[in-house]
């Protein structure tokens, strides 16, 4: 790495002598992709706490229905004497999903890691449109504000489900008291859409236009491929949700009737409008929200691929098939939305079509799993904390992927639709999958972000406890689903059929409490390591991709030299060099005899 430094970027990070205006420009309304990435990271981690606590509220009600919530019950629900009311229960699961999906998973992947890693990994000094980038973060704040506000009116948050199906979410009388929260919810989600849209335009442009010399598309790390495909998905699917959101908003507030049929009688009153169709909303909503499922997993798959290759000290198995698999998932992702609607009243013939496309989308996912196994095969696996999280992503994704086949089978879906089976499925994909990948990625890229390591021992304790508790919480959900235990019921034990499931729900609740409590270890480790972690150099893990060539943390403008890329990012264990890693910027050996010749096929 003796390339000439083009310009020194030593601004220093001491805030002494910095004027208020400078401080605001540098750390608040910053145009630097790394600051924006960290802003996203901190905001989403804070919302992660909120989302987790909302989940505990749900679990409490399911384990101890109608009993006083300990400690905080009296404070929150004084009118009900410390109980969770059925109205508030609908709010709990609506807001848990909303917060986790729109404020945690999507922004932490695209916003935090996308922003932080894209320019660094492709060898650019910043994003293509820094101002747009700043706006994409600051558009999250109206959303935070609006959704935060929705907690202020009874029943203290929107209660129409995160899917916000009309007519329940449109007709004011259908959910007494939901007037303001539901409207604020819709506006908030629209702002998240604007933020993601700004981000996705920026990511696509940056990845296409700003790559360092030599960085061809097929030398990009899988993380970048994941982000790139995600950005495309967002750019094409989000306008539909934004438009549909506006339609629902005008249905609610202006009296249009896009989603309201004739002849409704809600709470003994006739709404003034009609002529619409509730299922139209479901089509529009899932046309975005199914690709959104891949928006929530593809970047995680990319990051996991990078981590697994790095700690197997071995080239990734089947780089191009992995890229094609991601693209295949994205392409098929646009034509499977109907599998959320098999029993919705949609034409049952159409259900057959969606069954075939949904079955086929399992294929690229399977290919990815096989390639990850192939990557581990024949390597030298180092069980660092990021690797443990990445490996658990793979094993948990297998469960989440296979349980999807049950739902894709339309006849089986008749029985398990809207039961805990689907809850188990998406928690395996989104929590056991994506959230574990996000934890792994935080441990992996933390040294780059802050120049210090996170504590490995605490990290491993965090991993093992989280892994144990998450399986205790979510695996049991499959069994509840097999009994037909429906989701979204404040008191399922009212039904004979489900009364005997209470003990299992108690077990799950205590696992969930344990899981949330475990995250205190992570929070402690994270905060402590920012200030007191072991200081490390540029490349603590011995990785190849470009971000590890920049200083830790990188200054403004990222690289202190012009990166030139000679090869892909997964050349671990190459015979051309003595080290077991081979950075993308390291020139090949001058002597042609030393160069590796791939065996002829």
């Amino acid at each position: 790495m003796s390339t000439t430094a083009i310009q020194p970027h030593d601004h220093g990070h001491g805030a002494q002598g910095m004027s208020v205006g400078d401080f605001v420009r540098t750390y608040v309304f910053s145009l630097d992709h790394k600051i924006i990435g960290l802003q996203f990271l901190f905001s989403t981690l804070l919302w992660f706490i909120v989302g987790g606590l909302l989940a505990l509220g749900i679990r409490w009600q399911l384990a101890y229905p109608w009993s006083d919530m300990p400690v905080i019950g009296r404070m929150l629900f004084s009118a009900e004497g410390g109980q969770i009311s059925p109205e508030f229960y609908t709010t709990l699961f609506t807001m848990h999903a909303t917060v986790m999906i729109f404020f945690v998973i999507i922004p932490i992947l695209a916003g935090a890691f996308g922003n932080y890693l894209i320019p660094l990994m492709i060898g650019a000094d910043d994003m293509a449109f820094p101002t747009l980038n700043m706006l994409s973060y600051w558009f999250m704040w109206p959303a935070f504000f609006l959704i935060g506000m929705s907690f202020l009116w009874p029943p203290y948050g929107a209660g129409g489900g995160w899917t916000s199906y009309p007519p329940l979410s449109v007709v004011w009388d259908a959910a007494p008291g939901s007037h303001w929260p539901q409207t604020l919810w819709l506006m908030g989600v629209t702002c998240v859409g604007v933020s993601s849209m700004l981000g996705s335009v920026n990511y696509m442009t940056t990845i296409i236009q700003m790559r360092a010399p030599g960085m061809t598309m097929f030398r990009l790390p899988m993380t970048i491929w994941g982000m790139f495909i995600t950005a495309i998905l967002q750019a094409f699917a989000l306008p539909v949700l934004t438009a549909a959101g506006f339609m629902q908003l005008t249905d609610r507030t202006l009296g249009t009737g896009f989603f309201l049929p004739d002849g409704l009688v809600v709470n003994n009153s006739l709404p003034a409008t009609g002529g619409g169709q509730p299922i139209l909303w479901q089509h529009l909503f899932w046309f975005y929200s199914h690709p959104a499922v891949y928006i929530m997993i593809l970047p995680a798959m990319g990051m996991v691929s990078d981590i697994i290759s790095c700690f197997s000290r071995k080239p990734i198995f089947g780089y191009k098939p992995m890229v094609y698999a991601i693209s295949g998932i994205a392409g098929l992702g646009f034509i499977v939305w109907g599998h959320h609607m098999f029993v919705s009243g949609m034409n049952p013939f159409l259900g057959m079509t969606f069954m075939v496309s949904t079955m086929m989308i399992a294929l690229p996912s399977a290919v990815k799993v096989f390639n990850w196994l192939g990557t581990i095969w024949g390597g030298k696996v180092q069980f660092t904390t990021p690797m443990l999280f990445a490996l658990s992503f793979v094993s948990m994704f297998i469960i989440g992927g296979l349980s999807g086949i049950f739902m894709a089978a339309t006849p089986v879906d008749i029985f398990i639709h809207d039961t805990y089976f689907i809850v188990a499925h998406f928690h395996y994909v989104l929590f056991a999958g994506t959230a574990m990948a996000v934890f792994g990625s935080i441990y992996f890229w933390f040294p780059k972000m802050f120049g210090r390591m996170m504590d490995e021992n605490l990290g491993k304790v965090h991993f093992f406890l989280t892994f144990l508790f998450l399986n205790g919480t979510f695996f049991t959900m499959h069994i509840l689903g097999a009994v037909g235990f429906p989701r979204r019921l404040a008191d399922p034990y009212d039904y004979e059929t489900f009364r005997h499931l209470l003990p299992m729900n108690r077990f799950m609740t205590w696992c969930a409490i344990g899981m949330v409590a475990t995250q205190v270890i992570f929070a402690f480790n994270f905060i402590r390591s920012i200030f007191f972690g072991q200081i490390v150099g540029r490349n603590p893990w011995g990785a190849n991709s470009l971000e590890w060539m920049a200083p830790s943390p990188p200054g403004h403008g990222n690289f202190d030299f012009q990166p030139i890329v000679y090869r892909g990012p997964y050349e671990y264990g190459s015979p051309e060099v003595d080290t077991d890693f081979y950075p993308q910027t390291q020139p090949p050996p001058a002597d042609p005899a030393k160069r590796f010749k791939p065996p002829a096929h």
Partner: protein
């Protein structure tokens, strides 16, 4: 370890050992369609179970064998194999396509091929069920067999059915989305305001079972509970007649003595 535990959990639940009695598919009182759904569930469970255990074992074997602290082999400098990719694309693709096509008949029987009487005339509904916040309103057509006139028999949350017959129900919603879910019959259909839909099934066993609302319909969603009572045809007719008498009395004449 994890795959083994997972499978054990399922086996445990299926076998119904303590404390997991009845932690499995609820008793199936349905006809051939309902049993076909259970069989498909078990089939997919078996298939995915084998894949799950297989990949899990390979995964842990690799991790154990290629542990950097243990392995003495040099790293295999290897970028992948085109042949393997083709093999592990085609095999799952064929399996998935097979599952998809294999079950289309079951789906068609459950949702498309409504039972007929005689000359391909669709069987008329036994009753009309209207979902409403937060109850199921049930309307039997009465003696003339036509819904929506004066001799209809009205009930709330109490659906009686004859056993061993094709039962067709007309389901509707008056206000928001609901879902008509009969767990023991493996029947589920969302009811949508503005649409009329039919469900059909056969009940093979007498008894009382739950009607569950499976689509969020507001704060009282959890208590939108109905029951079905499966009876022999004779008892059902008797009950219907009795209901009609009670209704006649209550709607047109006050009971004697008032």
């Amino acid at each position: 370890m994890v795959p083994v535990l997972g499978v054990l959990c399922f086996v445990w639940a299926m076998a119904g050992f303590w404390p997991m009695q009845n932690h499995w598919l609820p008793a199936n009182i349905g006809g051939a369609d309902a049993h076909a759904i259970d069989n498909l569930f078990i089939f997919i469970l078996g298939l995915t179970g084998v894949i799950f255990v297989g990949t899990g074992l390979v995964f842990f074997w690799f991790l154990w064998k290629y542990d950097a602290a243990v392995t003495t082999e040099p790293v295999k400098y290897f970028h992948g194999s085109h042949q393997l990719e083709v093999i592990w694309s085609i095999i799952p693709a064929a399996a998935l396509l097979f599952i998809a096509i294999f079950q289309m008949t079951v789906w068609a029987n459950a949702k498309i091929k409504r039972p007929t009487i005689g000359d391909n005339i669709p069987k008329p509904p036994l009753a009309e069920i209207t979902g409403r916040q937060f109850e199921w309103r049930i309307r039997y057509p009465g003696k003339d067999g036509v819904l929506g006139n004066e001799d209809d028999i009205l009930k709330v949350n109490d659906l009686h059915l004859p056993m061993n017959e094709d039962v067709v129900l007309l389901i509707k919603s008056q206000d928001v989305l609901h879902s008509f879910f009969l767990p023991h019959l493996r029947v589920k259909q969302d009811v949508v305001p503005g649409m009329q839909q039919f469900v059909w099934f056969q009940a093979k066993k007498t008894g009382t079972y739950d009607i569950v609302c499976a689509e969020l319909c507001g704060w009282g969603h959890y208590k939108m509970r109905g029951r079905i009572v499966v009876q022999s045809r004779a008892e059902f007719d008797k009950w219907l007649e009795q209901s009609w008498q009670e209704q006649e009395v209550s709607s047109f004449a006050p009971p004697a003595g008032e």
